[in-house]
Symmetry: C2
Subunit: 132 residues, 2 copies
Amino acid sequence: MNIGEAAKASGVSAKMIRYYESTGLIPAAGRTGSGYRVYSDTEVQMLRFIRRSRDLGFPVEKIEELLALWRDRSRHSADVKRLAQEQIDGLERKIAEMQAMKDTLQHLADACCGDHRPNCPILVDLGNGPMP
Amino acid sequence: MNIGEAAKASGVSAKMIRYYESTGLIPAAGRTGSGYRVYSDTEVQMLRFIRRSRDLGFPVEKIEELLALWRDRSRHSADVKRLAQEQIDGLERKIAEMQAMKDTLQHLADACCGDHRPNCPILVDLGNGPMP
DNA sequence: GCTTGACCTTACCATCATGGGAAGGCCTAT
DNA sequence: ATAGGCCTTCCCATGATGGTAAGGTCAAGC
């Protein structure tokens, strides 16, 4: 399989496959005589693992740890669960932060009549609102 | 007021004030004879407006529009409300996305016993889970 | 065997908002 | 006068991804 086929099969773009190789997240792929990268099913599975982990929001740094555990047949599932829980907690924090922004904005937007007049509580808040 | 004082008074770091000036988000500040930037209360208020807008998640690009409306005394509040609503919608989308990630992870973590054994449904999912 | 088009390679640039640091100048209090 | 704290500009880094350009390769059709 060349890089384009591996990309289609894994859902990771060719560009990103090369990037992951350059940063050491995945080992350097084999090459044909003319320099094309070659991928086996095993390597494609690893790429799918990475893709799925990215889809769940794990940063590449954490995926490195996940991959190490994946390969380690004597891993403790507690270590995997801990990484997952940390990710859940991080998501929770970001969600709460964005929900707070959204609530504030919704409150302001509700108070704005949104017509042709210049009068606007949203702008008033942005100009005079609470300081950090 | 010099840049350090303006930073303290507005909550925007000196670094970012210079950056906003370099990108044209704010007009170039006046200078003392020796080249120090000088800020008036009006300019500090504009910086606070920016800071508050950033805290509500607006990208700088949108803040440019908000600032223009802020200065425009014949604005239509409908335009402000539209910007706010777009921001609310964007936040909503990101929240939903992250909530879906979190739910999936929670489900997987709940199924992982998290002990010393290597057996782990989280890794199984990452390796074989749904394709994009 | 030659052309064509699709693919591969590397290398560089851009994003977006922010921080870090270096090298050098200015200002104020002692 | 000197020390330390502020200012200036300039350059680099982040994180994950996309774009583009210049050049090599492969496979299919003629």
